[in-house]
Subunit: 208 residues, 2 copies
Amino acid sequence: MQNDIDISSFISDFSTNCSKAQIKTFDKGETITTFLVNRNQFCILISGSADLVRYDYNGNRLVSERFSKNAIFGEIFYQINTNSEFVVEAKDKCEVLLFSYDDINEKCKSNCSFHQKLIAFFPDLVISKITDLTSRIELLSRRTTRDKLLGYFNLLSKQYGKHFTLPFSITELANYLAVDRSSMTRELSILKKENFIKQDRNKITLLY
Amino acid sequence: MQNDIDISSFISDFSTNCSKAQIKTFDKGETITTFLVNRNQFCILISGSADLVRYDYNGNRLVSERFSKNAIFGEIFYQINTNSEFVVEAKDKCEVLLFSYDDINEKCKSNCSFHQKLIAFFPDLVISKITDLTSRIELLSRRTTRDKLLGYFNLLSKQYGKHFTLPFSITELANYLAVDRSSMTRELSILKKENFIKQDRNKITLLY
DNA sequence: TTTTATCTGTTGCAATTGCAACAGTCTTTT
DNA sequence: AAAAGACTGTTGCAATTGCAACAGATAAAA
């Protein structure tokens, strides 16, 4: 939601100026990082898009978050959790800035130009992240699938108007809203029947 | 969850050094802030505890978040939303640091000692906040009340062991997990019957 | 202490949801 | 172009949940 920062403009700085941070490029499908041990890893997505994927006990692949430009993620934000395996996978070609938060925080505090710039854009990134998470909590707190759908559509319509394309497939939307896919589709059908929305796959038009 | 920072130690700094920030004290029950217009307000709870309260269309008071020492909150983190009215209320006596994020970010960037210190502790506060929100999303994504309860108890047991007191009343816990209170109580009873837990009001013992 | 208000636990019932299985589309790969 | 795989939509059924109403317990106020 916060796309007005352009981190890529100073990419050249770290490779030359900070030994603690690195930029890596990932091709579609590659694993960017995992959340297994806690190395306090901190990642910033500079370009491309990626999914936070959970593999449940049945081996099903569930996309539980979608990252795009300027998204931040990494072990540092997660309480490493017993029975769930998280992986971040490149959805298309990605440039990612990776560093250990500890390194950045402790070892090159003031004399590193990368660190200086990190401080400059860090607040906007995290505030935007918190806003996103808070919105999602508001959605997930709703009791019915219908309320979740309409709530989510409302958020999108503020940005894009009455007609928009979901940033998710239908299957992924169900994961994002934490409901069963087929039940969600059922509810979408009802919304269509009742003329609340038009829908063609992940293209939605609000009729109210 | 992140209590090792002590903001109060430099409280004296802002009142004297930064005209943009202020410390206020609130008595139990008082409204600390509301989320109505977006003034980019940013709040840090220095001492005491507070609730993020939503009043739904029936006038019911729902506690949807609980803030304690070092919690951050404020309009800046919320997409102001049509049909929900949010208020932060002091749960007991509170000291709160308030400022407009814009003011801090734009107008006294480098020559204000308050700003310098804010930068120093800001990262830990926001990272801790993101971790909390992410954990909650993981809980809210679970399909059954039982899974939500056990997941939450697991988190607490990592910190406090097999026996702990919830930071919530039973009613508030239901709000936090976004389930119906009576249904949740029903599920708690089943967990007791099946000898998974012992429970006396908000005191829980895990038996596994 | 008495009164009042709030919180907790219980249960019946209706509504919603998850699960499973399947068929049709669309996309990607060979 | 054909085949394989993934995604979407549908539906029956069982399980879970929300809702409502109520009684007892606890806490706060008078």
